[in-house]
Subunit: 343 residues, 2 copies
DNA sequence: GCGGAAACTGGGAGCGCTTCCGGTCGAAGA
DNA sequence: TCTTCGACCGGAAGCGCTCCCAGTTTCCGC
């Protein structure tokens, strides 16, 4: 209990009357140590309150003992939403079982980008979970050929990473669009997300597919940018170009909120004149007027599965990419009399 | 560019034709190295793509090169909201300027708690930012007498940490209550937060103070739990016990949303019969019916200032605690005709 | 030119841990 | 009883870096 000098493995060994090697073996519960000595060491660890020095261990084993969750995006505000926090909760839930630490990098400035690059090049972490928000991120390519294990969260556009977990954006969009068809709508428009993001293109594709199956026109399209204001502008444009529309699938709840406002200002009733479906199931979606039917994706699971995948990767196995199911959450923006949830 | 063996300081030194010590001095730009050698080393670093090994450096300097943001709470879902993510953005914005890494610990399970304790005892980080959500957290005391620098985010109840940054919860609550008085309300109730959290007690105190100044009755009180459902229940109870109330200050937007719902179900108009003010200015507050007047606190700044304070602490200086201002955001739940924002 | 301070330089000892490797010892098989 | 083979053990060599220290310049001012 010497307050100044931290207790080292040597101290433990000395007190237990064994060699440092033996003590080390006990700590890492490696074989080849008798029960007697093992107990002695364990007791000494207890008595002294020994905790291994992570840096020293890292140096000796060439393993850092930490993984990083890296978010690469231009705008730091992207992280401010609840999305990111939930991912962390999911990641932590699995890391907690191991003794890996979690480092978080928001690679938004040039400085951050550089650091992320170095990380990838020089193995300063045992693994990386990478969520790359925008399109042609050079980091993505770099990550793919790095020799530190990398799993992607979501897929960048035009790029299929080797290991990733993603939400089923396309399937979700299909679900949303099919729902609109199911409630009798036929002139279904869409406000897409940014087309330089994977989620944007995937959701657009899902919309197209669903309408193709039904033989309906998928031409009522305006591209949005995932923001509330952008959603409003897009809705206005949609209304101008396709005044006959009776439903709109909006690729994010944020945009849907903007759209709802414009719809209201235009004197359209929701869902009477126009039914609206969003995407993401953000907290606010339950409180809009009317409450927003939307597609919910399991964000926490996404974090969870990313971490799990990274772990299997570091253990030398080869995981398969994973696509997490999304589901329709039915609220009043599509059916005034809310009924049971469809799966 | 040898792909297998990572390049070390020795490699750099050898290539630059200097000693390892000299190379080290250049890397850490310490004095006592001639311009010629300095340039040679720098060139070698460039050529070889050298990046110092963090573990080795940590071991040698006895400095980890990382700080941790630790959240101690019972329920992991506490972190899922946008609050936490914003703090991280703030923290990162200052850490980015240094070369400290950020580690995140969600100490929710017993395992996590233990790890946090060890961290505090054995200096596995250069500093910690601690946000302790619930009341009598033993971690808080432990942190205070740890010899690793700790700054608190928010203040636990019954406990004034040496170094902290907190939002002005009391001042905000006073602002909210004064606003209610200013618009002519006299029978002002409150739904408090959890009284085992610092924010809960502080906001309650602010409410009391404001009414005391005006000589109004501060007895219309029901304790809530910061959840939406809890807010609803509390509102119902308030209505039952004090049917004459004409305004309510609700200690969180979540609860206010629940309260709004109950008010509506009870046939009360807002703000006609009852004016409502919330706290936090969550995203949803802009979209409730009616939109919610609330107190906004600068969460990102909170992260920013915590990190800054930690930095000054590690540099050996002694910072003063910091209380960040909150402000009133006026919306339709208190004034049907929305006017300018008060400061 | 000379003394001495000041600026440089590289050797080497660690930081605390893991891990290879050769050695010991007890017991099982002959 | 004598080998043989494990299991067990401790010495020692690092992992890559920093930093002290003693030695070697260099460069003034006289």
């Amino acid at each position: 209990m010497n307050p100044r000098r931290p207790v080292t493995l040597d101290d433990v060994a000395r007190r237990a009357g064994v060699s440092r090697s033996a003590a080390s073996r006990v700590i890492n519960n490696a074989p080849h140590v008798s029960k007697a000595k093992r107990d002695a060491v364990l007791r000494a660890v207890q008595d002294l309150g020994y905790v291994p020095n992570a840096s020293a261990r890292a140096l000796a084993t060439n393993q850092v003992g930490a993984v990083v969750l890296a978010l690469s995006a231009e705008d730091p505000q992207v992280f401010a939403g609840p999305f990111f926090a939930e991912v962390i909760v999911g990641v932590t839930s699995v890391l907690e079982e191991t003794d890996l630490e979690l480092m978080v990098m928001l690679a938004t400035s040039a400085r951050g980008q550089t650091r992320l690059e170095q990380l990838l090049r020089t193995r300063q972490a045992d693994g990386v979970m990478l969520m790359s928000m925008h399109g042609d991120d050079p980091i993505a390519r770099l990550a793919e050929q790095s020799d530190v294990p990398v799993v992607f969260g979501g897929r960048p556009v035009n790029f299929e990473p080797r290991y990733y977990v993603d939400a089923d954006n396309r399937g979700g969009a299909r679900l949303a669009t099919e729902h609109l068809v199911a409630i009798g709508r036929r002139r279904i428009a869409t406000i897409t997300g940014r087309m330089d993001e994977g989620a944007g293109t995937a959701r657009y594709k899902g919309y197209q597919e669903a309408l193709a199956v039904e033989g309906l026109d998928a031409g009522r399209v305006v591209h949005g940018d995932f923001t509330e204001d952008g959603g409003g502008r897009a809705m206005a444009e949609l209304l101008a170009r396709h005044p006959d529309l009776d439903a709109v699938f909006v690729a994010s709840d944020q945009m849907a909120i903007g759209a709802l406002r414009v719809l209201k200002d235009a004197g359209k009733s929701v869902p009477g004149d126009v039914a609206v479906v969003g995407f993401n199931d953000i907290a606010t979606a339950r409180h809009t007027a009317p409450p927003l039917t939307t597609i919910s994706q399991p964000i926490q699971s996404l974090g969870h599965e990313m971490a799990r995948m990274l772990l299997t990767l570091t253990s030398g196995e080869t995981p398969s990419p994973l696509i997490l199911p999304t589901r329709l959450v039915q609220r009043a923006s599509t059916t005034s009399t809310v009924t049971a949830c469809s799966a």
